[in-house]
């Protein structure tokens, strides 16, 4: 009864909001294809705001939760095959060295403003991302004119992309960021215009309202896949920060889908099988601890190995995360090419830690290390306190510093190495399904520090990474072997610690089915695939 009440209340509120916001949402695109009256609402709550911006070219955060349902890309990563499938493209070819790519496009795609997709609109979409140069735009580096690349329409439904150097463009076009195709009618629009709740996509949903902490989506009736009665034509995604509040909403049936619960809330919800069920999705997200190799004491390889042996990997996964994660093996998460189970992984062994500490010759008298982590990540805080206890047994004090991301990152980029942290914890995931994201960004030497937060300058490692990047298109097996070798070097030298690979656990109402998460598009659920039971 309570569930029905909430559903009706939500449906009424949503219907009112849809009516009220009719003048703003999508007003700019002249959309004439409205959904028929259907008050069935899929209500998805999340722990943070579902977007930073709704600009398909510049959004570089949670916004893919929305954008993946509103916009489409030429290709899409398939976790089953480990390769990309056609989406707006039907097929593609490349030359031998992977510098020229020709994509054939679907001819039955229409945007939400009713216009048909053509090759020129695809070209304009890519150019917009490149020109704005924000968010994930770096993925187009090989295509930039300044690097000898170009993108052009070579037919009504044919796009040719020329790269300045070999590049796996079929992976790039599947990216979660900066690869979305949009109507020409919105190309000139500003980010503010998109943030007002307007869009120009070709996906199954249109944005009807966006308030910063919530987004209302409504079915695009002209979607080429058509609509069935048991699909949800209305979707609300809303931030509900507290885990306990989201849990209550799931228990009362107020919302049908949520995630990012605390471990105790998750356990409690999993037990309520008469109301909900759990779905655990593998992700490409992993938690990394960088060791500052530029300054003492972490510049000492044996000291770093001691630090690696002191971290409570198993206890973190089993006791802090209640098994909702898995210990990392190497840098590349399981399921993505480049992952290899034979890469050495440290385990918590304080005897070995002491052995390496002695070998390092570094005195622990008055030794104090600092580790920085993001303020809102309480799981890191709990795991780091366990680490602190272990290090204390080695005679080392570990100071935990929780910081806002901007502060944490600014300190890590300090030009004076001695003013940086000793250890830095954060979460990393790729922008598209290519391990290059970890290696190029996190390990390759940099003139100006961006994400190489172990401050590595290892010419051997740089050479392996560069060779693997070049071989990705022409010889995937060789590239993979190179990445595995790089991971072995990282583990051998304990440049950084791969703590655990994240898993997303969704709690789903028994009334719906079809919720799946593609690891290449973190936290994005394709609502089109969700149906009422």
């Amino acid at each position: 009864m309570m569930k029905r009440f909430f559903s009706l209340a939500l449906a009424s509120a949503l219907a009112l909001s849809l009516t009220a916001c009719g003048g703003s949402g999508n007003g700019g695109t002249g959309n004439g294809t409205a959904a028929p009256a259907d008050t069935k609402v899929l209500y998805h709550t999340y722990n943070t705001a579902p977007y930073v911006t709704l600009d398909p070219s510049t959004e570089y955060s949670n916004g893919i939760m929305v954008l993946q349902n509103v916009y489409e890309t030429l290709t899409r990563y398939n976790p089953e095959t480990g390769d990309v499938d056609p989406m707006l493209a039907t097929s593609w070819t490349r030359n031998d060295d992977g510098t020229i790519w020709v994509f054939q496009l679907r001819d039955d795609v229409t945007f939400h403003d009713g216009t048909a997709m053509t090759a020129q609109q695809v070209v304009n979409s890519f150019r917009r991302s490149m020109d704005l140069g924000q968010g994930g735009a770096y993925i187009w580096d090989a295509v930039l004119e300044s690097n000898g690349g170009k993108v052009e329409a070579t037919g009504d439904y044919e796009v040719t992309i020329t790269c300045g150097y070999p590049c796996a463009i079929d992976l790039v076009t599947s990216a979660a960021y900066a690869a979305y195709i949009m109507s020409d009618s919105v190309i000139e629009q500003t980010t503010e215009w998109f943030n007002e709740g307007n869009d120009g996509g070709s996906g199954p949903y249109m944005i009807k309202q966006a308030t910063g902490d919530s987004v209302v989506l409504q079915a695009y009736e002209g979607y080429r896949g058509g609509w069935q009665d048991n699909q949800y034509r209305n979707v609300m995604i809303r931030e509900v920060a507290e885990s306990s509040a989201r849990r209550q909403m799931m228990e009362t049936g107020e919302c049908q889908l949520s995630s990012e619960f605390s471990v105790t809330d998750l356990d409690a919800l999993k037990a309520q099988t008469d109301k909900v069920y759990a779905y655990q999705a593998d992700t490409f997200n992993n938690i990394i601890m960088f060791l500052n190799t530029a300054t003492e004491p972490c510049s000492n390889a044996d000291f770093r190995r001691a630090m690696a042996y002191a971290f409570p990997y198993e206890e973190t996964v089993n006791e802090i995360l209640n098994g909702n994660a898995q210990q990392s093996v190497g840098m590349v998460p399981s399921g993505l090419w480049g992952h290899d189970d034979s890469v050495f992984q440290y385990s918590c062994d304080l005897d070995k830690a002491r052995e390496y500490l002695d070998k390092s010759g570094i005195s622990t008298d008055g030794l104090k290390l600092t580790v920085t982590y993001m303020t809102s990540y309480d799981e890191y805080a709990s795991a780091l306190q366990l680490y602190q206890v272990n290090l204390k047994q080695l005679g080392i004090d570990l100071e935990l510093r929780s910081m806002e991301w901007d502060q944490q990152w600014a300190q890590a980029q300090n030009t004076a190495p001695e003013d940086r942290q000793d250890m830095f914890v954060f979460i990393w995931w790729p922008d598209y399904a290519d391990p290059v994201s970890w290696f190029q960004s996190l390990l390759h030497s940099e003139d100006q520090i961006v994400y190489n937060l172990s401050y590595l300058n290892d010419p051997e490692l740089d050479a392996i990474i560069e060779q693997s990047v070049a071989q990705t298109v022409t010889d995937r097996a060789a590239a993979e072997a190179g990445y595995v070798q790089a991971q072995k070097i990282v583990a051998e030298n304990a440049y950084l610690l791969n703590l655990y690979d994240q898993m997303h656990t969704y709690i789903i109402s028994n009334s719906i089915q079809g919720v799946t998460e593609n690891p290449s598009y973190s936290n994005a659920i394709l609502y089109y695939n969700v149906t009422a039971k």
């Binding site: 885990s243 306990s244 605390s262 006791e319 303020t375 306190q385 935990l400 510093r401 929780s402």
Partner: protein
């Protein structure tokens, strides 16, 4: 002449008289007793807590999130640490932080207010316009902004709170100083050639201090709340410091199933703040006969 000045100064109540007035009100008496116990608890914390190792150097995940029991009166946290030990020790952290923050604010605020009120003119204008700037921001928001710049730590939180709190004392004491500087004992001191600063510190400030004492005693509760708020937001005390606000912040993930994790530090904050407020009321009654009920 000095005797004349002394004779002209308002009579400051004797300790016995103050104590009598304080204990006459039952609520104030209870608050005073609880606060004395809290202070004793804070001082003796390292000796009286049952699991001293649980303050910083221990984790026992095998007994994580245990409900209150004979072994752990307030249960255990997510690392299996004894919450009772951490709440008791938290009194030391919170009281020290609050006293330090209010003390620092008084050290800044009182002289500035007295100087502004005594000198008047452009000195008064400059000081009061600066205080106006600080007062135009809500204290908590200003403290958050300062900690964001200074970096998250308990010491920085104390400094930030002091810097956002001093203008209230400055304004309060300035008003008093304007009135007191016209009194005869001040004029007498000027007549015998006492220096301006000597008059301010020896005659004006001591006679302006009553309302500041009342305000400060009531503010301690507010400052404890502010420290807890900053720590809750990750801007104050850092883990594993057993600070009450930080404990609530860490415990909220486990609420409502492991309610004890949040509730007991919350109750500690509630009792402490309430007692300081009741005590502040009592002190006001002692120092200001007009507000006395009987």
């Amino acid at each position: 002449m000095n005797n004349f000045i002394q004779a002209m100064r308002p009579r400051i109540k004797s300790f016995q008289e103050s104590l009598y007035l304080l204990t006459r009100n039952k609520l104030s008496l209870i608050a005073l007793i609880i606060l004395i116990l809290l202070i004793l608890m804070a001082i003796l914390a390292p000796v009286i807590i049952p699991y001293p190792e649980d303050l910083v150097d221990a984790a026992h995940t095998a007994i994580k999130l245990q409900p209150p029991s004979a072994d752990h009166l307030m249960g255990t946290d997510e690392l299996g640490r004894d919450i009772f030990s951490r709440v008791i020790y938290g009194a030391r952290v919170s009281l020290t932080a609050a006293l330090a923050a209010v003390g620092l604010a008084l050290i800044i605020g009182i002289p500035l207010g007295a100087v502004a009120g005594s000198f008047g003119g452009w000195v008064d204008n400059v000081i009061m316009r600066i205080t106006d700037v600080f007062l135009s921001f809500p204290p908590l928001l200003l403290a958050i902004a300062m900690v964001a710049v200074l970096g998250s730590s308990l010491n920085n939180a104390i400094l930030a709170i002091s810097l956002s709190w001093w203008p209230w004392y400055t304004r309060l004491i300035r008003g008093q100083a304007i009135s007191v500087k016209e009194r005869k004992f001040v004029q007498a001191a000027e007549t015998i050639g006492s220096g301006r600063m000597k008059i301010i510190f020896k005659h004006i400030i001591p006679n302006c201090i009553s309302p500041v004492i009342v305000q400060a005693s009531m503010d301690i509760g507010g400052v404890i709340l502010t420290v807890a708020s900053l720590s809750f937001l990750g801007l104050g005390a850092q883990l594993p410091t057993p600070e009450w606000g930080l404990m609530i912040s860490m415990g909220r993930r486990f609420f409502p199933d492991s309610w004890w994790y949040c509730i007991f530090p919350g109750v500690a904050i509630f009792i402490t703040v309430l007692c300081f407020n009741l005590l502040g009321d009592a002190i006001r009654e002692i120092l200001d006969p007009k507000t006395r009920k009987n």
